[in-house]
C-alpha cells in the first residue's frame, strides 16, 4: 500500500492585497497626515496619465473631496499626446481641478546650455523641472504636494533623486507596482490607464519594463523575497530565474543611496538624525 503524499510547496508570501482595506487605510493616512497633522486640506499632484499618479488622484479625491485636489499636467514637447488625454480622462472622471503647464520652454532654456546632454540627463532635468513647478503651484494654492512613486520603482532606483521622491507625503510608496494595479482596478481607474504599458514617457516608445529589463510582475515577487531576507539560491528555488534575481538585487543594492537623505559628515554628539532624534510628526 502506498499512502497519498501531501507535499507542502516552498512558501512564497503572496502580494495579493485586500484592495478595499488598502483604500480605507491609505485614505485615512492622507486625512491624518494632511488635515490632522498639517492642517492642510488641499492636495496637488503631477498627473502624468500613468497609473501611479492616477491612483493617487483617486485616493486624494476620496480622502479630501475632489474639489480639494489639483492635478497638474506638465508635458514636454516630446511627451505622448495620449498621456495628456489619459490625464484628462482622470480629471473628468473625478471632477478634480486640472491644469496644464508646459515645461518645454523652461527645460529647453537650460538644455541649450547643455548640448551634450544624453537622454538620461534630459529626463532628469524634466523630472526636476516638474517638481519645481509642482512645489511653486503648491505654494500658490496652499496645497500639499503628494507623491506618486511606488515601492517597485523606489527599490529599483527607477526615479530621479530629489524630484519624483520629493513630496512630503506619499500614499503608495509601500505598494509594489502589481499592488498599485490591483488597487487602481478596485477604485475604478479607467482601463485605458490601467492596462497600458507603464512608461516614464521621456522618449517615444519607452516602457518601464524595457528600461528595467524585467516585468513588474516578476520584479515584485523577487523584490519581496529579497526584502524578507531570502538569499538568491532560496529565491531561485522558488522558481525564479537566476539572471533576473541577480539583476534585481544588483539594482536594489546599487541604489540604496537614493532612498536616503544626503550623507552628512558626523562630527558631534548632536548630529541630526544620528544623535538628535525626533519623529517627523512632533
Amino acid at each position: 500500500m502506498t499512502l497519498r503524499l501531501l507535499e507542502a510547496p516552498l512558501d512564497e508570501p503572496s502580494l495579493a492585497i485586500n484592495a478595499a482595506l488598502a483604500a480605507r487605510w491609505l485614505e485615512a493616512f492622507l486625512r491624518d497626515e494632511m488635515l490632522v497633522r498639517r492642517g492642510i486640506g488641499k492636495a496637488i499632484l503631477g498627473l502624468s496619465g500613468g497609473i501611479d499618479s492616477a491612483l493617487v488622484a483617486y485616493l486624494c479625491a476620496r480622502a479630501l473631496g475632489p474639489e480639494n485636489v489639483y492635478a497638474i499636467r506638465m508635458p514636454y514637447r516630446t511627451s505622448s499626446p495620449s498621456s495628456l488625454s489619459d490625464a484628462q480622462r482622470i480629471v473628468d472622471a473625478l471632477g478634480i481641478h486640472g491644469e496644464t503647464i508646459e515645461i518645454t520652454d523652461a527645460v529647453d532654456g537650460y538644455l541649450k546650455h547643455a548640448s551634450d546632454a544624453d537622454p538620461r540627463r534630459k529626463g532628469n532635468v524634466m523630472a526636476r523641472m516638474r517638481m519645481l513647478v509642482l512645489f511653486d503651484q503648491s505654494a500658490r494654492r496652499g496645497a500639499l504636494p503628494v507623491g506618486t512613486g511606488n515601492k517597485t520603482e523606489r527599490l529599483m532606483g527607477y526615479f530621479t533623486w530629489h524630484a519624483d521622491d520629493t513630496p512630503p507625503v506619499n500614499p503608495i510608496g509601500d505598494l509594489y507596482k502589481t499592488q498599485v494595479w490591483a488597487l487602481a482596478r478596485h477604485l475604478g481607474v479607467p482601463n485605458e490607464v490601467v492596462d497600458k504599458p507603464p512608461s516614464a514617457d521621456l522618449e517615444a516608445n519607452q516602457t518601464d519594463e524595457s528600461d528595467l529589463g524585467i516585468t513588474y510582475a516578476r520584479a515584485d515577487r523577487i523584490l519581496n523575497l529579497i526584502l524578507l531576507g531570502y538569499k538568491d539560491d532560496a529565491i531561485v528555488a522558488r522558481g525564479h530565474d537566476v539572471a533576473e534575481v541577480r539583476l534585481v538585487r544588483r539594482r536594489l543594492d546599487a541604489t540604496h543611496w537614493k532612498r536616503h537623505l544626503p550623507t552628512t559628515a558626523l562630527v558631534s554628539d548632536t548630529a541630526i538624525n544620528e544623535f538628535y532624534l525626533r519623529p517627523v510628526d512632533l
Binding site: I17, W25, A28, F29, E33, R37, P279, D281, L282
Partner: protein, 295 residues
C-alpha cells in the same frame, strides 16, 4: 464589573489636548457608571517619540494626578479605576509604563499598580530599547474584579507572560497597546490585527482569564496605529472588537463566575500548576542552565 476600553487617537505630543479628550470620554462614560476604563499604551503623547520621550515622560504620581483631575472634572458621582499607558521618568530612568489608578476617591487618587513594559521591541519599525529601560517584574495586583495583571503590547506576544500572570492568580489581563498596522494581504482586516486577536484569544482560553485590549489609532508619521480594541472572555471568545481606524469605546461586563466556569470546564491552568514544578526542574531549559552557570 462594567469595563470600558478606549480606542484613543492622540494628538502627537500634545498632552493638554489629549487630557481634554480623556475628560470628554470620561464625561461620556460617567452616566453609565463604569468601574474600569482602559486607555492604550502612550495614550497622552502618542507612541513614536524617539528622543522627545525625555521631554514628555513624567513620574507615576504626576500621571495619576493628571488622570484623576480629568475624572473629577467629568462630573462623575462615583470613583472609577483607570488604566493608561505613559512614558515614565523614574529619577532619570525611562520606562514604557502603564498605570492603574483609582480615581475620584475622597482622599485623592490611589496608585494601585504601575507595570513597566518588559519586552521592548527593538526591530524593524520599533526602536524602544534605544530610548527606554525595560521593566524587571511582572506583578499582579488586586482590583474590584479580583487579581489582575497588565501586559503592554509585546509583553503579550510572549506566551509565557500571560501564563505567569495567570499562575500568580490573575483573572483579568489588561493589554494597553500601540501597534503599527501591517499586512494588506490577509482577509478583511490587517494581518497584524488578525495575529493580535489570535494571541489574545489563545491567552484567554488557555488560562481562563478575561483579556481586555485597548489600542491606539491614528497615523504617526506614516505609521498607522491599528486600533483593534477588543475584549475576550475566559473561554477565548471575542466579546467585542473595533476596527482599525476610528476612535471609539467598547464596553464589556465582566463576570467573575465566567472565569470559574471556564476553568472548571477546561482546567488547563490547574494542570499547568501541577506539572510546572517538573518543567521547572528540567535542566534542559536554557534559563535554568544560565542560572546554574551564574557564579
Amino acid at each position: 464589573m462594567l469595563a470600558a476600553l478606549i480606542q484613543f487617537k492622540p494628538r502627537k505630543g500634545d498632552v493638554p489636548a489629549n487630557l481634554a479628550t480623556m475628560r470628554a470620554i470620561f464625561e461620556q462614560l460617567a452616566p453609565k457608571g463604569p468601574e474600569l476604563i482602559v486607555f492604550p499604551e502612550a495614550a497622552l503623547t502618542g507612541y513614536f517619540l524617539e528622543g522627545a520621550v525625555y521631554e514628555l515622560a513624567v513620574d507615576a504620581p504626576t500621571m495619576a494626578q493628571r488622570v484623576d483631575e480629568q475624572w473629577r472634572a467629568s462630573g462623575a458621582a462615583a470613583p472609577c479605576d483607570v488604566v493608561a499607558g505613559f512614558y515614565e521618568n523614574v529619577a532619570g530612568t525611562f520606562h514604557n509604563s502603564a498605570i492603574y489608578v483609582r480615581c475620584g476617591e475622597p482622599d485623592g487618587v490611589h496608585i494601585v499598580h504601575v507595570h513597566r513594559k518588559m519586552f521592548l521591541p527593538t526591530y524593524g519599525v520599533f526602536d524602544e530599547e534605544r530610548f527606554l529601560t525595560r521593566g524587571r517584574r511582572l506583578a499582579t495586583f488586586e482590583t474590584p474584579f479580583g487579581t489582575a495583571a497588565i501586559l503592554i503590547c509585546e509583553d503579550a506576544w510572549h506566551a509565557i507572560m500571560p501564563t505567569i500572570a495567570a499562575l500568580k492568580g490573575a483573572r483579568l489581563i489588561i493589554v494597553p497597546s500601540a501597534s503599527p498596522g501591517r499586512g494588506l494581504c490577509g482577509g478583511d482586516e490587517l494581518e497584524s490585527n488578525t495575529r493580535w486577536k489570535a494571541i489574545l484569544s489563545s491567552a484567554a482560553a488557555e488560562h481562563g482569564v478575561y483579556v481586555l485590549y485597548a489600542g491606539l489609532t491614528g497615523f504617526e508619521g506614516g505609521k498607522g496605529m491599528s486600533g483593534g480594541t477588543c475584549a475576550f472572555s475566559p473561554r477565548g471568545d471575542l466579546l467585542q472588537s473595533a476596527g482599525p481606524l476610528e476612535p471609539c469605546i467598547i464596553t464589556v461586563t465582566l463576570d467573575r463566575q465566567e472565569v470559574d466556569l471556564a476553568r472548571a470546564t477546561i482546567p488547563l491552568l490547574g494542570d499547568l500548576s501541577a506539572v510546572l514544578p517538573d518543567l521547572w526542574l528540567d535542566d534542559e531549559i536554557p534559563v535554568m542552565r544560565r542560572l546554574e552557570e551564574t557564579p
